[in-house]
Amino acid sequence: MRGVAIIGVGETQFGELWDRSFRDLGIEAGLKAIEDAHIRAEDIDALYIGNMSAGKFIEQEHVSAIVADYAGLADSHLPTTRVEGGGACGALALLQAYAAIASGLHDIVVVGGAEKMTDVGEVKAAEILSATADQEWETVFGATFPALYAIMARRHMYEYGTTREQLAAVAVKNHRHGALNPVAQYQKEITMEMVLNAGMVADPLGVFDCAPLSDGAAAIVMCSLDRARKFCETPVELIASGQASDTIALHDRRDLTTMDATVVAGKRAFHRAGLTPADVDVAEVHDNFTISEIMAIEDLRFVKKGQGGPATEDGETALNSKISVNTSGGLKARGQPVGATGVAQAIEIVRQLRGEGGKRQVTDAEVGLTHTLGGTGATAVVHIFRRVR
C-alpha cells in the first residue's frame, strides 16, 4: 500500500438552494476542488460520487456519469462510480478513492458527494431519510429516523443520566461553530433556551436537536503521497480508514446506547494509523441528531462511555478545548446534504490541518478524524488524517 494525500478541496454553499440543480452543485464543487489541486481535467483517472437517494429526491439515478459529463469530462471516458451506504455514502466514496490510489489502480482520483433534498416537501424528505432504517420491520410500524435516534437518546438518559440540557449543549456548540463557517447553512448562534423550548419532533428530540434538510455538494482531489507536493504546497495525508457494519434494525443491536459499528470502525482506523484517540486534535463526527454526537465521542473513545453529555456541557468538545469537535458546525449547522456529508467533513479536517480554518482554526492541528454514519448506525466509517510536514 502506498501513501495517499488530499491535494484539493472545494464545496458549494450548503442550504435550501432552490435556484441550483443537482448538476450545478456537483460541478461547482468539482471544479473548485480541481482548481485548488492545480491539476488539469485530463489528469483525472477516476471519479467516485457519494449520493444517497437522487432517485427519490430528484428522480435521477446514474448520477456519477452525469457529474462527469457536465463537468466536461465525457470525452475522457473516465471510470465513474456512485457509492451508497445511507448517510455514510460520501465517506465511503472517499474510502473507495483511498483504496484505489493506495493499491496503485489509479493515481489521481476525484471524490464528490452531493444531495439535492429540498425539491421534495419536508414530509417526503423525512420519509426518504427513514428508508435507511429497516423499511419492513421499523418504518412500517411508524418508526421515523428522528424517532429511532430518540429511542437511543431516551435509553442513554436512563442508563447514564444524560440530560436534555446536555443534548442541547451539542446544538448550541455546533451553531456557535457554524457561525464561523461561511458555507454553513446556519451561521447564527442559538441559545440553550431556544433548543429546550423548540417543538418536539420525537421526544426527547426537538427541532433544534435535528440536523436540517439541505442541498449542497463537496469534492476532493486525491493522489499518491509521493506526488502530492508536485501539485500542492500543503498536502494532507489520509493515513488510515476503518469501516464497519451492524444490524440494519436498531432493535437488533446489542446495546441501544452504543454504536458497535462506530466502536469497531474507530478501532480499525486507529490500529492502522498507529494512533490513539488522544492523538486527535480535531474531529468531525456525525451529529445528524444531538444524541449522535454524544454517542460518537464516547464510541470513538474521546471520552468514557456515559460521559459524552457532561463532557459536552463542560465545553470539552468546543473549539480549541480538549478536543475540537465539529468545528465546521457539523451536520447540525453546516447542513446535511446527505451524500456530501462525508466529503464535507473531510474538507473541514483538511482546512484545519492546512491552517486555513480562519476564525475557527484549531491551534497547531496535526491529526484530524472524520466519523460518518449510515442509517441508525448500520454503517460507520472513520478516516484519520495528518498534516504532511
Binding site: V123, A126, E127, S130, E136, W137, E138, T139, V140, F141, G142, A143, T144, P146, A147, L148, A150, I151, M152, A153, R154, R155, Y158, G199, M200, V201, A202, D203, P204, L205, A249, L250, H251, D252, L256
Partner: protein
C-alpha cells in the same frame, strides 16, 4: 410498494412468528434463514416458532412529526420491546397516555391496522402493543 412484499410479511406481522435456531436455540424475530450466532451451521435448521407477544419496553419515544401514512395517529408512542423469549422488535404502544409510558413497562401484543402503504393505499395490518392488564388472555385476540 409492491403487493407481493406485503403478502410475504403477513405471517410474521399477523401472528408474531419468528425462528428458533436448531443448533443453539436462539430465537429471532423477524424470521431469519441464518442464525446470527451460528452462521452456516444453522442453515436448514431454523424452525418457525410463534412468540408469546408478552414483553417489556426497553426504550421509547413519542412521535410528533410523522410520515403521511401515520399523520392521523400523532402523537404516538413508538418503542423497542424485548419479548420474554428474548427477541426484540419495534412497535407502537397504544391504550395508554403517552406520558404514562415507562422503560420497563410490561406490554402485550394486539392486532391492528398499521396504516396505508403506497399510492395504491394498500391497508397494512400488524402488531401493536398495549400495557399488560389481565392474565391468561391470548395476545393475538386481546
Amino acid at each position: 410498494m409492491a403487493t407481493p412484499r406485503f403478502w410475504r410479511e403477513i405471517p410474521s406481522r399477523y401472528n408474531l412468528i419468528g425462528t428458533k435456531c436448531g443448533s443453539c436455540g436462539t430465537l429471532d424475530f423477524p424470521p431469519r434463514a441464518v442464525c446470527p450466532k451460528c452462521g452456516r451451521k444453522s442453515v436448514g435448521k431454523m424452525m418457525k416458532q410463534k412468540l408469546s407477544g408478552i414483553g417489556t419496553i426497553i426504550s421509547y419515544t413519542i412521535v410528533y412529526d410523522a410520515p403521511s401514512s401515520f399523520d392521523l395517529l400523532k402523537p404516538y408512542v413508538l418503542a423497542v420491546i424485548e419479548l420474554k423469549e428474548g427477541a426484540r422488535l419495534t412497535s407502537q404502544i397504544i391504550n395508554v397516555e403517552p406520558g404514562d409510558v415507562k422503560i420497563g413497562m410490561r406490554v402485550e401484543a394486539v392486532f391492528r391496522k398499521l396504516g396505508q402503504e403506497g399510492e395504491a393505499g394498500i391497508l397494512q395490518y400488524g402488531y401493536k402493543f398495549k400495557p399488560v392488564t389481565g392474565q391468561g388472555k391470548s395476545p393475538a385476540t386481546a
